[in-house]
């Protein structure tokens, strides 16, 4: 097996893989919700945005209740990257709330602006997690991989079942 294959295998086996894959799934839900809302189908848009909101909320909580505490306990870093990620989760929750508000009053322009802002914030956030925080977690939490990895996977699976 060549070196890139080993890297690929290790990457595939990473603890945070379920979260990384779930980012893509949430992106899809976001894209669906945005397309439906900007198409003017408000009833379906409310369903789509709610589905997206439920899944991403579950994602945030999985990180905030499982991954971040485990990382903080292991490294002692409580005011570093995890704090920043929590702050960005709060900002995204606020923007998703604004999306719901604009949907309620069928404000297409307003929805488009909030969705645009959320998309870039969400993508930057995901990039920071996938490129920096998740690899840090994978390294520092490697001894707990079997248990914690399963828990993360279960929580994400549950989120997908709920929607």
């Amino acid at each position: 097996m060549t070196v890139p294959d080993i890297e690929w295998f290790l990457k595939m086996a990473a603890l945070t893989d379920p979260l990384q894959h779930h980012h893509k799934h949430c992106d899809d839900l976001f894209a669906d919700a945005e397309a439906v809302a900007l198409g003017g189908d408000w009833l379906r848009a409310k369903e789509s945005v709610t589905r997206f909101q439920t899944e991403i909320e579950c994602h945030f909580r999985t990180e905030e209740e499982l991954l971040f505490p485990a990382f903080e306990a292991e490294t002692g870093m409580t005011i570093g990257p995890t704090q920043m990620m929590r702050l960005e989760h709060a900002q995204m929750r606020e923007l998703i709330g604004q999306m719901q508000t604009t949907l309620a009053v069928e404000d297409r322009e307003g929805f488009g602006g909030v969705a645009e802002t959320l998309l870039i914030l969400m993508q930057q956030h995901n990039m920071k997690e996938e490129n920096i925080l998740y690899p840090m977690c994978d390294r520092s939490l490697a001894p707990q991989e079997a248990v914690l990895g399963r828990q993360l996977q279960d929580r994400i699976d549950l989120a997908c079942q709920m929607t």
């Binding site: 945005e34 397309a35 606020e94 604004q98 645009e116 840090m136």
Partner: protein
């Protein structure tokens, strides 16, 4: 990137904005020049007025926008630390403005002293810029295709500067330099090395982010900049004897590599998960289609020789590819920089209320109108290469296009100030 994952390393808003807000004014000046001098500028690439027009676009519009974007992009996307960005921008921005102005005046007035002054000012301003950003991109621990592309692009900018200063000195002092071949080398490093590789490196980062496309394949994102720089290197090795058929083969190879980036980006666009086509996306798509058209156009001289084909290629590259993509990118990044900086500012004022969203910085409809103006301007500019009577109307339209852009960008800048002065009360 800094391990606290914050955007604290992003420069103050005035750093990129002074470049962004200046850039369109060089476009307006280019339009004015075309309006005044008319079709004489679209006959040969070597006419002094044409060289002035070209440099208003490349050393004015493009260089301002790209330097501003780099100062924002390097810290945020690669975690590279730029040394005192505020001071750097305060020094480099006026120097580049003056240098571009001097160079254009030198071409128009054909005064040796102006060429010399332009050369020195560019060497000082751009030289300082290159040193500082090089330190940032070479020291960053970040890896990946974007960082590699940025490093190559900045190295290419250095070669562009060196050859440009040599040309200016040659023109000023009447040195016996082979000027046309040297200008070919200078243009290849400037457009193919610096501008296109920088564009590719930024695209690797922003295309998947803005449109939810798959990532550029690793073989492509790592290979394309090297392939392009190799072609530009071979092109330079031909110097000073650019004889056929080698010249055409190398030129076509370079355009083909550039077009492959356009084709790959369009391919990724076709697979995007986001279904909304915003104005920024339309500009990006126009630029990529122009790259493909550039390849088709570069084949024409194989069958039919006409100096105007070179002018056509220039119009397509400058206004179709680079102008469009920069325009589209500014519409995306400036509203988001506003939002990001306001959110940070509100935080320091003790409120967790989020700033107004990106569309409230500038409505999408305002951007869309300017896109249509730009599309029409590009069409008339391309037609004017073959229909001389359209040259002056094309100049007028270019002024309108760039004026509209300047106005829209100013609105975004003013929106930042407006919302900054109205910090909402904490809920």
């Amino acid at each position: 990137m800094h391990p606290n994952l914050s955007f604290e390393q992003a420069p103050p808003i005035s750093v990129p904005y002074r470049f962004f807000l200046t850039a369109p004014w060089f476009g307006i000046a280019a339009g004015l020049l075309l309006l005044v001098q008319g079709d004489a500028l679209l006959v040969s690439r070597w006419a002094p007025g044409t060289l002035a027009l070209v440099h208003l676009v490349v050393a004015g519009f493009m260089l301002q926008a790209m330097c501003g974007a780099l100062l924002q992009f390097i810290p945020v996307a690669t975690g590279g630390n730029i040394w005192r960005p505020h001071w750097l921008a305060a020094l480099v921005h006026p120097l580049l403005m003056v240098a571009a102005g001097l160079l254009v005046a030198a071409f128009l007035a054909q005064r040796p002293g102006l060429f010399m002054a332009a050369g020195y000012t560019f060497a000082l301003g751009l030289g300082f810029f290159i040193v500082v950003v090089s330190l940032a991109v070479w020291r960053t621990p970040a890896q990946g295709a974007t960082v590699i592309a940025l490093r190559i692009a900045i190295a290419a900018l250095l070669v562009t500067l060196a050859t440009g200063v040599t040309l200016a000195t040659g023109l000023a002092k009447g040195l016996l330099l082979p000027l046309p071949p040297l200008a070919d080398v200078h243009a290849a490093w400037g457009l193919g090395g610096w501008a296109l590789i920088l564009l590719a490196g930024v695209s690797y980062f922003v295309v998947p982010m803005f449109q939810l496309t798959p990532a550029y394949p690793a073989w492509f994102s790592r290979g394309m900049p090297w392939a392009l720089v190799a072609v530009v290197g071979i092109w330079s090795a031909l110097f000073p004897d650019f004889s056929e058929p080698l010249r055409s083969i190398v030129l076509l190879s370079g355009v083909a590599v550039a077009a492959s980036y356009g084709a790959m980006t369009l391919h990724l666009h076709a697979r995007r998960r986001r279904k909304v086509s915003d104005t920024s996306f339309l500009f990006f798509r126009l630029a990529m289609l122009s790259l493909l058209l550039l390849l088709l156009s570069a084949l024409i001289p194989l069958f039919w020789e006409d100096e105007r084909i070179t002018v056509w290629l220039g119009v397509l590259a400058l206004f179709g590819v680079f102008f469009s993509v920069i325009n589209g990118m500014l519409y995306k990044i400036m509203p988001f920089i506003n939002w990001l900086q306001l959110q940070r500012y509100y935080g320091t004022r003790g409120t967790q209320v989020l700033p107004p969203n990106m569309n409230q910085m500038l409505p999408e409809s305002r951007m869309r109108i300017q896109f249509h103006v730009h599309l029409a301007t590009l069409g008339v500019l391309l037609l004017a290469v073959w229909v001389p009577v359209l040259a002056r109307p094309a100049g007028l339209m270019l002024m309108l296009d760039c004026g509209w852009l300047a106005f829209n960008l100013l609105q975004i800048g003013l929106a930042y100030r407006h919302f900054k002065d109205r910090v909402p009360e904490a809920a």
